[in-house]
């Protein structure tokens, strides 16, 4: 069970990560000590995009909740049946909360999934977009 309540303002700064990468046996990305699932957040003029690596999950098994100021990604990864010789893939329930600090258009949020990558597009509301105001010089 992994709960990360504030991925935005966690204690890990990019500098911390560089130091951690030095200590880890190799620089590969598989040794990331981050919360599960890993999340990328980006924004442009129109949308905030949250991307999430969730291999082995169908979009119907993922529980996406949009609250007043956050997006919650929840689900459970089921283990395979049989005798395990090696287990490295995480199983069990997970939850990740992404805080959103800008007004959003809740009605037009879309989510899609491809090759284990979840992409949630959250459109910003009209009021939060930058506007040009023309000033007439008298």
């Amino acid at each position: 069970m992994v709960i990360d309540f504030s991925p935005f303002f966690g204690q890990q700064t990019p500098l911390d990560r560089i130091f951690e990468a030095f200590w880890s046996p190799s620089m590969s990305i598989s040794q990331r000590p981050y919360a599960y699932p890993p999340v990328n957040i980006s924004e442009d003029q129109e949308n905030i995009t949250v991307r999430c690596e969730l291999p082995g999950m169908d979009i119907s098994e993922i529980d996406l909740t949009l609250t007043e100021s956050s997006l919650v990604v929840k689900g459970e990864r089921q283990p395979a049946k049989g005798k395990y010789y090696r287990q490295e893939r995480p199983t069990g329930a997970f939850q990740r909360v992404v805080n959103i600090h800008s007004p959003i258009d809740r009605e037009r949020v879309t989510a899609k999934m491809k090759d284990g990558l979840l992409e949630v597009v959250i459109p910003k509301s009209e009021s939060s977009k930058p506007k040009k105001i023309s000033i007439d010089i008298a």
């Binding site: 991925p7 935005f8 620089m27 590969s28 990305i29 598989s30 990331r32 981050y34 890993p38 999340v39 990328n40 957040i41 980006s42 924004e43 442009d44 003029q45 995009t49 991307r51 690596e53 969730l54 291999p55 082995g56 999950m57 169908d58 283990p79 395979a80 049946k81 049989g82 005798k83 395990y84 010789y85 090696r86 287990q87 490295e88 893939r89 995480p90 999934m113 090759d115 284990g116 990558l117």
Partner: protein, 121 residues
């Protein structure tokens, strides 16, 4: 070792995908987490007793998007396994779904437990 330095020159970080190996009644299953790798860019090589899986993620570079928080990126997955003799190499099946590679390694017929008929002398 030689291969590792070669990929680092190309700039893509190389990662070992998290892998489960499970035995069931109809053989072995290898599950590998390879999110972002499409079916087309996945390479599975079987050479004698060695099976090698490699694939590159193909996340589109976000144009005009400002990255706020980054925890993963493009990379190359690579992992090799040595197969046991009881695996029937001719019937190995691979299946990719939702970013997970499933390799089914059936056991060879001669490795299956069977009853031995007793002949009357």
């Amino acid at each position: 070792m030689i291969e590792e330095t070669r990929t680092e020159e190309k700039g893509l970080p190389r990662a070992k995908p998290a892998t489960d190996i499970v035995e069931t009644a109809d053989g072995f299953y290898i599950y590998m987490d390879i999110p972002g790798v499409s079916k087309e860019s996945l390479i599975i090589d079987l050479n004698e007793d060695e099976i090698k899986v490699s694939g590159r993620t193909a996340y589109p570079s976000p144009d005009g998007e400002k990255l706020i928080h980054v925890e993963f990126g493009n990379g190359e997955y690579y992992r090799g396994f040595t197969l046991s003799h009881i695996v029937d190499k001719a019937r190995i099946k691979a299946n990719v779904k939702n970013g997970v590679l499933e390799l089914h390694l059936p056991k060879a017929e001669k490795a299956q437990p069977r009853k031995i008929d007793i002949q009357m002398g």
